[in-house]
């Protein structure tokens, strides 16, 4: 934690490299099974954000900036919100009402069921992940910049 720009020690970096994928996998699992098990887009999205955060803390800000294009993340955030709105507008086009569940419902307990719900869950998951990561990114960035000045 001494120099936030360089990140932490090699041990932490190596462990992070392995565990981040597990965390991401778990987040994706939670999001996709949102209509079947507890969790859903919000929980899964936070887990994804925590995975990104893990990278940021372990590898430091500069390396993370190389890996993750921040502007791109902002765009993904806006796109996922827009797509949520478009799902609602598609409801008007296909079902006659805003945000109507227009896809076939399928049989309960299967992964591809419940019409719109899995799609909306994925959109929310992406949106939450990006938003929360960006919040911490911006808040943390301000500090380091201030540190650089003084």
């Amino acid at each position: 934690m001494n120099n936030p720009k360089q990140g932490m020690t090699l041990i932490v970096k190596t462990v992070t490299r392995v565990t981040v994928w597990l965390i991401v996998l778990y987040g994706i699992y939670l999001i996709l099974h949102g209509h079947l098990t507890p969790g859903g887009g919000f929980g899964g999205g936070v887990i994804l954000a925590l995975a990104f955060l893990n990278i940021m803390l372990a590898y430091g800000r500069e390396t993370t900036q190389k890996w993750l294009n921040i502007k791109f993340l902002e765009d993904i955030e806006a796109v996922s919100a827009t797509l949520f709105l478009f799902m609602g507008l598609l409801g008007i086009a296909l079902g006659g009402h805003f945000l109507i569940n227009f896809l076939p419902k399928g049989s309960p307990h299967s992964l591809l069921s419940a019409g719109n719900i899995p799609i909306l869950n994925v959109l929310i998951g992406v949106k939450v992940a990006m938003s929360l990561f960006l919040v911490v990114w911006v808040l943390a960035g301000l500090h380091e910049e201030e540190g650089g000045q003084s």
Partner: protein, 491 residues
């Protein structure tokens, strides 16, 4: 049905602005003004086409207590027109005003989110949904108040944010208790069940809502944040906050709850009258002693909110007509006055009236329109403010509350004094000012002239033919509280 488009148009424009704006603000301006104009057209069209009817829109086609319902009745229509009007002129005004600060698309995206939140609050028929959209409007308002990036702006925004968070929590507790007692969130369904509940419960929950929405409307004991926030924000945002935000989040939500859901309990009508009278007198006095032009206007906003509350508290159709009309006209002239203050601040770089002088030659349009706005707010005849205040005072006398009528007249004189001070020192002082740092361009002039004309023209809304089609349905919604429930539930 056009109801969901009041949400989707501003929301889509906010999302698209953040996607395609890039670094410059050109696209942002284009998109947001297009959205603003289309909402203005939509809302005026629906006001004309409404014809006293009530439209219901079921979100996702779920039957009533299960899903969320949107309701568009006379009151909602009028508020939508008001929000679209003020937001459209503010957007035009912003084009020059914000460029003088910086060129950033984020301002326009946040502005459209603010409009989304207010529209959502207006058209919803569901109590929790009202809370969610209230939060959208509040969060964007916090960020917009802090937009200028000065120390005072952060301080004002922080104060506003803490107060806003407290009021939202109070409202949410009220919603939770009402849900537990009635087992529904649809306001019409709640209204159906309220008569079966113990009145003590309604009084207590009403107290929570009074504190929560009173904080948002800045009624007198809860007003501490307003003068700071409204004077520190950029001028177009001040006019949005003072003109429509406190009315939509505060007064409109209170009308829906206390009149349409609770059925206008007597206790709260009296509380409205008392708090309204306190607001009129105290903040009238406070506004006279201010030397900061925008602070003066901010205090006078609290005083005018007091008039609206007193009018609502009378409870007679005439009083409510006055309150609704005053709500409408106050939005127009207060926004106009804030535009003027913003123009003066931009030209002179200060808001302190002691440093100003005669601006009649330097800023002809601004000083002329400020005279119109000032006369309207202090209730001088041909302007709309005169008519609305007159109706409230007549209603007070008719309802047998002469004390309140005298207080209202005194408040009007206090407002006149404050406005005279603003005119005397701010626009028509002794020292002739010829050198201004920045010219007021056509976008700002257009919006000022437009609102000044409307100050005169909206007085025509009281003419017999127009009044029946626009204002009377609104009054009917508020007075006849069973009607709302029956229309929404389809009985």
């Amino acid at each position: 049905m056009i109801l969901p488009y009041y949400i989707t148009i501003p929301l889509l424009s906010a999302f698209l602005i953040s996607l395609i704006a890039g670094k410059k603000d050109k696209w942002a301006i284009l998109l947001s003004t297009t959205a603003g104009a289309s909402m203005l057209i939509l809302s005026i069209y629906s006001l004309i086409a409404q014809n006293g009817e009530t439209f219901i829109y079921k979100m996702g086609f779920w039957s009533l207590p299960v899903g969320i319902v949107l309701v568009q009745d006379g009151l909602a229509c009028l508020m939508l027109v008001l929000v679209s009007l003020i937001s459209f002129t503010s957007l035009i005004y912003s084009v020059q005003y914000i460029r003088h600060m910086d060129r950033n698309w984020k301002y326009y995206a946040l502005f459209m989110l603010l409009v989304t939140g207010m529209n959502g609050v207006i058209i919803t028929g569901d109590l929790f949904n009202l809370f969610v959209f209230m939060e959208i409007a509040l969060l964007s308002a916090f960020a917009l108040v802090a937009y200028g990036g000065q120390a005072e702006e952060y301080e004002a925004a922080f104060k506003y944010a803490v107060m806003g968070a407290l009021s939202s929590t109070l409202v949410l507790i009220g919603i939770a208790i009402l849900y537990s007692a009635t087992s529904t969130l649809t306001m019409a369904k709640m209204a159906e069940k309220v008569p079966t509940l113990d009145p003590r419960l309604i009084y207590w929950v009403g107290g929570l809502f009074l504190a929560g929405f009173g904080l948002k409307a800045a009624i007198m004991p809860f007003h501490a944040w307003l003068p700071d926030a409204h004077s520190s924000a950029p001028a177009p945002i001040s006019s949005m906050l003072s003109g429509v935000l406190i009315k939509v989040l505060g007064i409109y939500a209170m009308i829906r709850l206390y009149f349409n859901v609770f059925g206008a309990p007597h206790l709260y009508m009296n509380v409205f009258m008392v708090l309204g009278a306190i607001s009129i007198i105290l903040s009238g006095l406070l506004s006279i002693v201010q030397w900061d032009m925008k602070r003066l206007l901010a205090y006078s906003s609290i005083s005018q909110i007091g008039y609206i509350l007193v009018g609502l508290g009378i409870g007679t159709p005439l009083g409510i007509l006055g309150a609704v009309f005053h709500l409408f006209s106050h939005a127009i002239f207060k926004s106009l006055l804030f535009y003027n203050a913003g123009a003066v601040e931009m030209a002179l770089g200060t808001r302190d009236m002691r440093k100003m002088g005669s601006l009649v030659h330097a800023l002809p349009v601004t000083s002329a329109t400020s005279l119109v706005g000032g006369l309207a707010i202090s209730g001088i005849p041909p302007f709309n403010g005169f008519i609305s205040k007159l109706i409230i005072i007549i209603a007070l006398i008719k309802a047998g509350a002469p004390v309140y009528a005298i207080l209202a007249v005194i408040g009007s004189i206090l407002t006149l004094g404050a406005i005279m001070k603003m005119q005397r020192f701010g626009f028509r002082g002794e020292t002739e000012i010829s050198k201004i740092s920045e010219k007021i361009g056509w976008p700002m002039q257009t919006s000022m002239v437009l609102l000044a004309l409307l100050c005169l023209l909206t007085g025509l809304m009281m003419l017999p033919g127009i009044r029946e089609s626009i204002l009377d349905p609104v009054v009917k919604v508020i007075v006849d509280h069973h009607q709302y429930m029956q229309l929404v539930l389809g009985r």
